[in-house]
């Protein structure tokens, strides 16, 4: 880089901060063995870059430079503090005498180590989310608090406690061994999907902030797929993209819900649908098909129908059958019943839903009653439809859902 004016160096450092700071942090946590020390070292390293690069030029490998600078700054800081706390002397000595970290030591894995540590199942789900957004994505505690409708001190405390647990219980900074990878990856995917859904179900709070949260989840999931292309990681990315493709079409400007069959499909984002569908193919090709991949496959079938009546319901029923085998749940059974109603007619679906409601597990679930009401309506059984819409309305607190159900009730006359 020939131009080393302070202005241009500042721009370089700023863009490096955006693109590399989380990777540098991930490596510093491994090298220094401590989150707080690594975070201090990270900001010291970037400050050093701003001070030195205008004189010395931008180094050939800025990331390695930043890691190395951060490591030296941390050793200096420990030495200074060791005057007051003798126990830090040995740590500073150890860090100093250890050979400088070789770049070859799978530095790419550092980001994975960070992700798996932040999503360790011995941390509470709330702590996993806060740690992931703070440490892996680099969001501030204020941003996280705004997105989760809570206060910055609450989030800050969650992060402090999680770091204390990582240190005191000695949660290792490592990618799990193959034997445990499946269950541990499931824990990571749960976190990224929770973050996505928090941004996607815009039932409360500021819409813009929450859409950003979905974008953050997608970025994180893309990173995960790059680092660890396991089939369910690919499947979840596909699912997120396919859901995201419908964001603009699924509610009115006032925030009222628009059902899939009533959405303006020209407003679905083709680029996301194409990418999502290609990822579904890739995940299916591994032949280790999990629940995220199957949900994404169902979303892809919907997305590829240009009009609602072109939907391949037979394929959707088949996918729900598989999903019910992989991960049996009453909700999957309910969705399957709705798909059967579309394939074989409302009476067939109603029989299945009544069986599910009689079973009791869905008795308090408003969407089960809403689905029943819809099938009764289509069969002309207005009284039953009215009773079921009313039951659904009694069971939900979400305002957009309540408005939707109330509208349906009015339309019955």
């Amino acid at each position: 880089m020939a131009d080393s004016s302070p202005q241009s160096v500042r721009q370089t450092v700023e863009s490096l901060y955006t693109s590399q700071s989380r990777r540098v942090l991930a490596t510093l946590i491994r090298v220094l063995g401590d989150f707080d020390l690594a975070e201090e070292a990270l900001s010291d390293a970037f400050a050093a870059a701003l001070a030195q690069w205008p004189r010395e030029g931008v180094p050939a490998n800025p990331r390695a430079w930043l890691v190395s600078a951060g490591r030296f700054k941390a050793i200096d800081a420990l030495r200074r503090r060791a005057r007051f706390d003798a126990s830090l002397t040995s740590l500073a000595e150890r860090l100093d005498t250890e050979s400088a970290p070789r770049e070859a030591v799978a530095v790419e894995d550092d980001q994975l180590r960070l992700i798996f540590t932040c999503c360790h199942p011995s941390l509470s789900p709330e702590a996993q989310i806060a740690m992931t957004l703070r440490e892996v994505c680099g969001l501030t505690t204020e941003q996280i608090a705004a997105a989760f409708l809570t206060s910055p001190p609450t989030i800050a405390q969650r992060i402090v406690r999680a770091k204390a647990k990582i240190r005191e219980a000695n949660i290792p900074y490592e990618v799990p061994e193959r034997e445990h990878l499946g269950e541990r990856l499931a824990s990571v995917l749960r976190v990224t999907y929770l973050v996505f859904n928090e941004g996607y179900s815009a039932s409360s709070g500021d819409h813009v902030t929450r859409a950003d949260l979905s974008g953050e989840a997608i970025r994180l999931q893309r990173l995960l797929v790059d680092l660890l292309p396991e089939s369910e990681a690919v499947g979840l990315l596909a699912l997120m993209l396919l859901q995201e493709s419908r964001r603009e079409a699924r509610s009115t400007p006032d925030g009222d819900l628009i059902l899939l069959e009533d959405q303006d499909r020209s407003r679905w984002r083709r680029d996301l649908i194409d990418e999502g569908a290609a990822l579904v193919e890739r995940a299916l090709a591994t032949r280790r098909v999990g629940p995220y991949t199957l949900q994404a496959a169902i979303a892809a079938v919907h997305a590829q129908a240009t009009t609602p009546d072109k939907t391949d319901w037979a394929q959707i029923v088949g996918l729900y059958d598989l999903l019910g085998q992989v991960e049996p749940s009453p909700i999957v059974a309910l969705n399957r019943a709705v798909a059967v109603a579309m394939r074989d007619g409302p009476a067939a679906g109603l029989t299945l839903i009544d069986e599910l409601l009689a079973d009791g597990k869905l008795a308090e679930y408003h969407l089960a009653h809403a689905a029943r009401a819809d099938l009764c309506r289509r069969l002309g059984r207005t009284d039953q439809a009215r009773a079921s819409y009313q039951r659904a309305l009694d069971l939900t607190q979400q305002e957009p859902e309540r408005r939707f159900l109330a509208r349906r009730l009015r339309e019955l006359g």
């Binding site: 000695n170 949660i171 799990p176």
Partner: protein, 119 residues
């Protein structure tokens, strides 16, 4: 680093045969841990009906029976193991036979100065 594995289960939920098998399998596990240098201590505990609670308030000892709270699961035994990190301790906990029936709580053991060295 040392971890304590605290075993909680419904102590009335065990048949004699299950209990005997659990002791045998747990003993086997302690032998394996010992061979790998990871064993510190382990024992089952007699039921909570045999427990005595001791408190000292204002310098006066108060001795009463049993635990205070009605809970579904009681502390029924423990392991203390040497493990590299939490993941290794969790891996040992998943091999504790009582984990299949109850819950094993994994707690890092705090190191404080001045304790006698027993091992």
């Amino acid at each position: 680093m040392k971890y304590m594995l605290l075993i909680y289960s419904d102590e009335k939920g065990w048949t004699d045969a299950e209990r005997e098998r659990c002791y045998a399998e747990s003993t086997q596990l302690t032998q394996e841990l010992h061979e790998r240098g990871q064993f510190v201590a382990a024992s089952p505990l007699h039921p909570v009906a045999t427990a005595t609670s001791v408190r000292v308030r204002h310098g006066n000892p108060m001795v009463t029976d049993g635990p205070f709270a009605e809970t579904h699961e009681q502390l029924g035994g423990y392991f203390i193991v040497e493990a590299r990190d939490l993941n290794e301790a969790i891996a040992i906990a998943t091999r504790v036979p009582a984990a299949r029936k109850g819950t094993v709580e994994v707690r890092p053991v705090m190191q404080i100065p001045g304790l006698p060295q027993t091992s």
